[in-house]
Symmetry: C3
Subunit: 483 residues, 3 copies
Amino acid sequence: MGEQWKLDPDRYFDPEPSQRRVARELYDSVARLPIVSPHGHVAPQLFADADAVFGSPADLFIIPDHYVFRMLYSQGISLDDLGVPRAGVGQGSIDSDYDAEERGRQIWQVFADNFYLFRGTPSGAWLQHELIEVFGVHEKLDGDTAQAIYDHIEARLAEPGFRPRQLFESFNIEVLCTTDAASDSLEHHRAIQNSGWSGKVLPTFRPDAVVNLETVGWRGHLDALARAVGYEIGSYERLVQALEERRAFFKQMGAHATDHAALTAYTANLTAPEAEAIFARALRGEASAEDARRFTGHMLMEMARMSIEDGLVMQLHVGSFRNHNTTLFAAYGADKGADIPIAAEFTRNLHALLNAYGNDPRLTLILFNLDEDTYARELAPLAGHYPAIKIGPPWWFHDSVNGMRRYFDRVMETAGIYNTAGFNDDTRAFPSIPARHDVWRRAAANWVAGLIVRGLVDRQDGNDMVYALAYGLAKQAYRLDEA
Amino acid sequence: MGEQWKLDPDRYFDPEPSQRRVARELYDSVARLPIVSPHGHVAPQLFADADAVFGSPADLFIIPDHYVFRMLYSQGISLDDLGVPRAGVGQGSIDSDYDAEERGRQIWQVFADNFYLFRGTPSGAWLQHELIEVFGVHEKLDGDTAQAIYDHIEARLAEPGFRPRQLFESFNIEVLCTTDAASDSLEHHRAIQNSGWSGKVLPTFRPDAVVNLETVGWRGHLDALARAVGYEIGSYERLVQALEERRAFFKQMGAHATDHAALTAYTANLTAPEAEAIFARALRGEASAEDARRFTGHMLMEMARMSIEDGLVMQLHVGSFRNHNTTLFAAYGADKGADIPIAAEFTRNLHALLNAYGNDPRLTLILFNLDEDTYARELAPLAGHYPAIKIGPPWWFHDSVNGMRRYFDRVMETAGIYNTAGFNDDTRAFPSIPARHDVWRRAAANWVAGLIVRGLVDRQDGNDMVYALAYGLAKQAYRLDEA
Amino acid sequence: MGEQWKLDPDRYFDPEPSQRRVARELYDSVARLPIVSPHGHVAPQLFADADAVFGSPADLFIIPDHYVFRMLYSQGISLDDLGVPRAGVGQGSIDSDYDAEERGRQIWQVFADNFYLFRGTPSGAWLQHELIEVFGVHEKLDGDTAQAIYDHIEARLAEPGFRPRQLFESFNIEVLCTTDAASDSLEHHRAIQNSGWSGKVLPTFRPDAVVNLETVGWRGHLDALARAVGYEIGSYERLVQALEERRAFFKQMGAHATDHAALTAYTANLTAPEAEAIFARALRGEASAEDARRFTGHMLMEMARMSIEDGLVMQLHVGSFRNHNTTLFAAYGADKGADIPIAAEFTRNLHALLNAYGNDPRLTLILFNLDEDTYARELAPLAGHYPAIKIGPPWWFHDSVNGMRRYFDRVMETAGIYNTAGFNDDTRAFPSIPARHDVWRRAAANWVAGLIVRGLVDRQDGNDMVYALAYGLAKQAYRLDEA
């Protein structure tokens, strides 16, 4: 076991002493600012009940986190051995507490035996931060220390201070936005609001499941939306009406934003008859892939129009080929680490939307992307011109020390920092939130320090920039500084 | 206002002391070399009249510079508030000197209030260099200092030393190449030559407006070309004849190069009947987009052929989707900051041209590009093989400290520096020329210093490389060292 | 001539002292490990005869090395002046030893006069390493020193210690894999095995010439394969049989891997009748480009299937547009420096293959690529999920200090180092092997040192990582640690 496991207080900073010194000073000026988390996938029910608890260490760190189990899977470890439930099965096959405990420990042992795989990865950095900073682990995780560390975490999780609401507060989260289906009742958000707890947890409107005609189970999602609005959605016109009503409901429930995912950024208006015809084919189960593509491209235009009308910030995530591994998808379902990026294109694809709405300062369209080649080539030139566009932070596989460095390097010269949206953690792993924001704040401080020691900006400007990157820009972009 | 505003003498150099020291020494060895500016968009009339003056500070720094106003526009500031004239209107709406003065001061105030947007951008760096080094401003520009700085610049511009010809000389410009339409009379170039002034200002032949059938107002440009040659251009054959004659005229007037812009690098020969048929359709206003694409691809082949015959260096700029913002284009016209890059491809697109002419050392084809992904993948491998190809410097959005670093990083290992064309400033903002060359010389010195301290080249080689990058390569590539 | 020509002992390391110190320590820990060379193009006959010798310095350094002569050609030097033989001619035009000596010296002089072109290039770094470390040259190569250095190298090559087998041993090569046609008799490998020499030289099965229907001379290659198996290959079924038999023969002769090159990574199964129909068209000389594309995509699937069955590791190299310069190809043949990369795509192209075989841990598919944009976007996410995939080292134009830095930067965060395949030198220039592995080991040490001084991994993990990168991963990925 040897020496104590700890985090380097100067981690992620350039080793050159003059830059490191400035980076540390800049970081110190923002390290303890509240966390603004305007986009992510934490389950709101965690906060609906004051007494909610997390499960076992395996439930918390491994089973739900596709960042973690995808790496283990890539080395030949089966998802079954990691406790990932089979589609339609759930974890119900474990029939006693003792078995569950045994099972959690076995999963944890596999994880610890293979923890070396995460060397130099962002998952490795976040996990280390969580274990050391959040849970107070001070032995390096490996096969030998696995069970002792499991004991330690299990004990912590039983303490009152490790309940979700208490961690929310000790993490100093100012606001946490969840992501919710268009048909969602937002019952957990309502419960939070009614509970008297001061934590600010806001919903985000995500209509993908009804807007993307190729969604597995689309009809079921549409029916859920119909139930939510209380009338049948038998036409495109009714769909638009339903979406407008649900947006109003989400807004009333505190939402500041909508979220949209698409394979590409393609946008183009359909005529009303075209839209009705495609929707009718979809209802009959006859929509083609081309229908779906055109309908999604049209609905993105509609969403921009609605955003101008209701003021909800529009987020667009493009470029993920979902469920690439069809065998795994059949066995385990979605979000199993098998979403793989494809090349992206914005200049031509967003032409229709931007020509319709891009000059309107009432629209804020935040673009997320998995193809870094578009940073300097398309996103920064677009954001450095159109009033409506902001560039979202480095997303998913690029939410990392190197990914951030490349993002600052390629985006900022042309877009300027004020056309970006600060940071998102985009996580479903609640305890990783401080780790993720810490990486961003350190990476931002180090980047600005690099500008200062290279004479590109002066210290005064640098101070302002780091504050904006760490805190201000996210609030502005998501209009969280308003009302 | 606190401490004096000044430039860091070691700006853009790596902070690590050993590299910084070498970088500074290398930079010092080339910092005062004459400026060779082989490609740009400065108006030749500035130098035609010995008494020409620049306008107001707003006229000089803001109104004509789409790099500057695009950033302000992206944050919701209207182009009207920045003095950008509406298409077909001009600035004639200002009806007195007093109004013009007021208007200029208002524009300047908006600019200064928002100067923080340029933090960390190349425009910010150039503007700071111009203000401090060229105009002697020593207070940091912001909303508070705006009017005093306006006064200061206005006073400088009234001095004889701030006339265009005097700045040309104090900038130590050895040669400045302009960019001129195929139909241009080159009257300003003739006036310069006849004036007895020693400044070397050379024309460049740019036939895009007649060669690209989709140019807005193509027929008018063709008619202008017809007037220039003195005969009707009713056939493709006549067009070729006219272009050959105009090239000869440009060459006689001192031109060393031609310049061509295209959406893609597509090249392919048409047969003569095909070319005639497309041209005939164009004359009837019936050319299709595909006609235009094929005609442009064919004319690039023709231009390479003519370059082999007349020795003019051929420049090709590809990848800009012009006037992406159609609303803005309708209101304000072209060059308003709404040109957005697209992905580029050279390996297949240049196959026809390179197979016809790429092995001919009489051809120099300088390639410019907005898609950095092609640097290491296509441009460097092509330039490291074909005798005809040279790679132009980082263009437009990549003309920056980071853009240059990425260019050196990705181009030089495979192409070697001797297959590159040195630096272009490519600017229409005359007072920014020294700033832009200074960035390049510093970035080049820092890159070579990095090679030296990493043991990749020795100091003697490094000295030669920096001289070549700062001065020699541009002269060689554009054959400015000949005759 | 001045000071002695020598290599910087800290070359390629970051100049920042703390990182440099760690990099040097890590490098020292792996610098003398045996060389594992699992993929390359060294001719096995070099080792078949204990008395084999290299030719003249020009024969060794220039004439066969397209990395070297492409750069000289790009500056207008003819391939004839570099001794590159015309297609179908050979070097037989030289009719006496005296002429050969004269000719070698002339070629060397041209090379030395232009050696400055290689400043800052990987070829320059390798050549310098070979001259100084392998041949003991201590004067810098240029036009003045050319002939003295030629004398020196010629004398060395005449010494027993400079024969291929002796260099193999002094280079400390543990295993060297060659690349051999499917029809190859492997007579040289047999001769090596029968000679009693301890050097391990293994064949690799490369069936491209018969699998890619567009190969120039495809029919001749198919006939050679038929002769090798002893029956006519008149059907697709027979082709599959022949390939399976040849794989078994290669495996019995020590092969651990197969190698496949394709313009794209396209994969898709044909039905047996489709495959037969295309093959029949190919036999009649009537296969279309689309036939060839589909057949290649199908055969990649077949090769993966066979790999699962016979355990040979599968290598796939994609993205090179071969023989781009048709004039040069007609005059001099293939491999003349005119292969130019194109953009690559893996996510969709490999979908069929990965869905069929990607979850099978018996398959190891090592992917090589010339389009760095796919590193972070596609390759790392694929390798970080599918058990079958490993990412090969930076290939060809990216086998360089910068290319490696970009590879570590973009691949490792998402894939982790354990989903990569260590290093390949991929060279036909035998004396460059130590230089190439040295660059990799230094670059790897410097990268890991950067992780350590930035607090991303601790020193203990760093030590393990450098060992894996320098030695262990290559052995594991190619299963050279087995049997």
